[in-house]
């Protein structure tokens, strides 16, 4: 039972991350990854996009999106890879690698949010 003690906290992060990434990322991909590159919508350009990211709330948005999104992906990928590759015995090491990557991504997002 002691092993399950942190599960609700992990699930809260995981569940919330699933919604945050799920609500916000599709529209990001749609515009910055497809519609602007194809020229279907006019890209607002460097000045306007920089101005958008300079707002304190936009910086906070970036950090929140990256923190929840990266940890959601890391947790889900850990669970999936263990089943997919049948590597239950490597779950701890796999988790360590994936959560470390999520942490690096989040720290990088905080750094970028502070300099942009």
């Amino acid at each position: 039972m002691t092993k399950r003690a942190n599960e609700p906290a992990v699930w809260f992060l995981f569940g919330t991350g699933g919604f945050i990434a799920g609500y916000l990322l599709p529209v990001h991909i749609l515009f910055f990854g497809i519609l602007f590159p194809l020229g279907i919508f006019t890209d607002p350009g460097y000045e306007a996009t920089l101005h958008l990211f300079e707002h304190p709330l936009a910086r906070l948005y970036l950090v929140v999106l990256c923190f929840f999104g990266f940890f959601h992906a890391a947790h889900r990928l850990r669970l999936t890879l263990v089943d997919f590759l049948r590597i239950k015995h490597l779950e701890t090491q796999l988790g360590l690698v994936l959560y470390s990557l999520a942490l690096i991504g989040t720290v990088y997002a905080i750094y970028l949010a502070s300099i942009v």
Partner: protein, 135 residues
Amino acid sequence: MASFPQSQPREYRPSFSNWWWLGRRNYLIFILREFSSVFVAYFLVVTLEQVCALARGPEAYASFQAHMRHPLMILLNIIALAFLVLHTVTWSKLVPKAFYPRRHGHPLPEMTTALPSYILWAIATIVVAAFILGA
């Protein structure tokens, strides 16, 4: 008195193929749904790359835009969007189910439990799109 050969009890290990996820359509959809998390991480990295380019100046941002116009990047992003939509739809169906009370012992229809999540998704999409386009 008859004697029987002693055999050591061994752990039962059911055998199944490494390709178990191709065995049934449901398994395949499960694996595709779970691997949508790869595309979540992928586009977060692209977004960080974009902000990094913004921080470095107009030339860096122009090269980021040129990189995004590459046909293979556009193709990858279309695939990523498809996986992201799969993620949001399945997540909206799955998670609220755990919180809704059952009526007369029956679970509420999936469309009812998922609807608030779809509405929030639509609002978030419109708000973010307004910021991106109005930038």
